[in-house]
Subunit: 220 residues, 4 copies
Amino acid sequence: MTSPAVLSDVRRELADLHQALIESGLVVWTAGNVSARVDDEHFLIKPSGLAYEELTPESMVLCDMDGEPVDADALKPSSDVFAHAYVYRHRADVGGVVHTHSTYATAWAARNEAIPCVLTAMADEFGGEIPVGPFALIGGDDIGRGVVETLDGHRSPAVLMRNHGVFTIGGSARSAVKAAVMCEDVARTVHISRQLGAPLPIAQPDIDSLYDRYQNVYGQ
Amino acid sequence: MTSPAVLSDVRRELADLHQALIESGLVVWTAGNVSARVDDEHFLIKPSGLAYEELTPESMVLCDMDGEPVDADALKPSSDVFAHAYVYRHRADVGGVVHTHSTYATAWAARNEAIPCVLTAMADEFGGEIPVGPFALIGGDDIGRGVVETLDGHRSPAVLMRNHGVFTIGGSARSAVKAAVMCEDVARTVHISRQLGAPLPIAQPDIDSLYDRYQNVYGQ
Amino acid sequence: MTSPAVLSDVRRELADLHQALIESGLVVWTAGNVSARVDDEHFLIKPSGLAYEELTPESMVLCDMDGEPVDADALKPSSDVFAHAYVYRHRADVGGVVHTHSTYATAWAARNEAIPCVLTAMADEFGGEIPVGPFALIGGDDIGRGVVETLDGHRSPAVLMRNHGVFTIGGSARSAVKAAVMCEDVARTVHISRQLGAPLPIAQPDIDSLYDRYQNVYGQ
Amino acid sequence: MTSPAVLSDVRRELADLHQALIESGLVVWTAGNVSARVDDEHFLIKPSGLAYEELTPESMVLCDMDGEPVDADALKPSSDVFAHAYVYRHRADVGGVVHTHSTYATAWAARNEAIPCVLTAMADEFGGEIPVGPFALIGGDDIGRGVVETLDGHRSPAVLMRNHGVFTIGGSARSAVKAAVMCEDVARTVHISRQLGAPLPIAQPDIDSLYDRYQNVYGQ
């Protein structure tokens, strides 16, 4: 199992990422949550219903892969915990999961409509459209299964869940937060573009070229 | 009557909640107000026409259930005081009331149009549509009566008042502020969704299930 | 002439009001300006082309009623100085003038369209529609004349200048800033309301009643 | 070559301008970049993929006019470095270049649509429409050539690149940032104006008069 020092680092990073979520305007009040895989058997997630300013590294809840808290005296985990657990169980490559009801992405989700890839920034980060998954009720495996099955066969690390909001995944919790920020950004820009006409499509070979470069050349 | 220590705590919380209102972008300049029930005979409310940065715990005005200030040297209470008083007299379960002209909610109100329940977050918090109440002039019981009568028969703690703005209620002032924040959030998302088409409805049994879970399972 | 102590107070207030303008999101970069009448012969106004973070009480430019700086070594006044001067010369009741290109108000102005009075908050502050004035070039009396002539016969302290932006007036500079904030707020709400249909009108007697109460009863 | 003291000043100013970019809401996460010409042979530019809060004066990358870093141990420059280099090589008057995906400007770009000059503030800063350039892939000279060729024959210091975002130029990096801020501001206002009808055009002689005055009279 992960050492206390490493666990403590992940707790601190996860608390910081929740602040990034609220500073980016992706969440209000207590909505939204981030989780981070700790090891093969555990992940950390936001506690349920706490205000963002109350979130501390210590308040993050260590859960097993069934979404059950490991410590008897821990806070209750986010009510989305089972969706996060499902994703970790079925995607060994995922190190972090984010869920928000960010405005523009959720507006597309409410119409059950995927976001078309009409921006180079979308080709970079999502490699194509941002798909939309099924309507699913909270509390069991339905949301997690919808997320995993919809992302299967897409390059996108983001999925819109119908009438609900967005889930994003990443190799790390930070990458998943980045995907959530970029998802809302392109959801907003494409929405606004379409308000006054039809945004032009980007040719598939150009999308492929942009995605390949961004994934392999961008950054340090 | 409530002890000075408790009254002092409510004053401080009420001043803090007004800051939450302005930080959430729900109010501008001196518009909007929050009140908190103190006991069966009294509530505290924002003074009239003060800037948010001037609001202190001591500036909050203690009123009786007719909306009259208890202390002769108190500031004049919000001009919405009679609407708040009406709600407290007719709803013993209400511990806090919020009024705003928040942008998107007021835009629905200006069209006399209820916000349909097309988001799971709306089913969670409002249990259905957010209804719209009558046009009413300020200064008497008309607004308060419109609020109480419209909320009667709805699960929603928020009501849009025609051509005017939003009133929300809660078991506490903090719950009423939460409802005001969530009301604007869903008013905005549903508005934006509908700009480019028709958001899909959520089936009534799913709304019921979401509402039940959120009211009874969510949080600590 | 005004005492140095009073002048110093007005300088400080004017610098603060410019910060309120940028914090309210009504201006970007160096756009927009506020002026304050000092006495029958003078007013203070923002210097031309300075960034908001560079504005100090001392940088505000004292001008005579022709818009000419009084001090030889003062900064150059805002290029809108002649419009402000015209207003002060023709409206003895005006103690402050504000000019912005705030987004939603300017969007109405670009269509040459008045904002209809469909919100109680608009009836309160503006007492009816916010009118639109003529297209006018900067640098002479044309803008000032357009402002004064258009406001004549309206209760509104705000006027949209065609293809340009907003001018607001008030008994004090602070009142004019309030009118600028409220103007953008109602311009945005009415715009958003109309995006999905037709906001309902408010009957004239109700507008009159709301305006009368707000002007005479609201505040301390 | 430029002295170390001057280079150090440019590094500090460039770091500050990146903060202005994020504070103005023009960029999210690591998107967007500013560069500043240092001398005839060199310019400084943002490193690739760093978060805005990690940007320091020292992290800015000194490049030659082919976009190659001068120092072997420097960070990797922005992946847009070749576009910036192309602009500096072909426009001796340019001292700064900015690139963003700011929301409203990019929405126009996704439709391949120039922004018409319907605001006096647009006539002031851009002297006419903001043109739109070709679709171009990142990594070579295509984007830079598209920027230079499109701006040729326009007064505008801003160009929308199709499906991509905005490039702005200026005599200094600060002027280019100003153009980026103003570009998003007018892109938003014209978009919103057109949502409810047709903004009125401004006559060409009036555009010419406004542009001439703003370029020659405005400021200190």
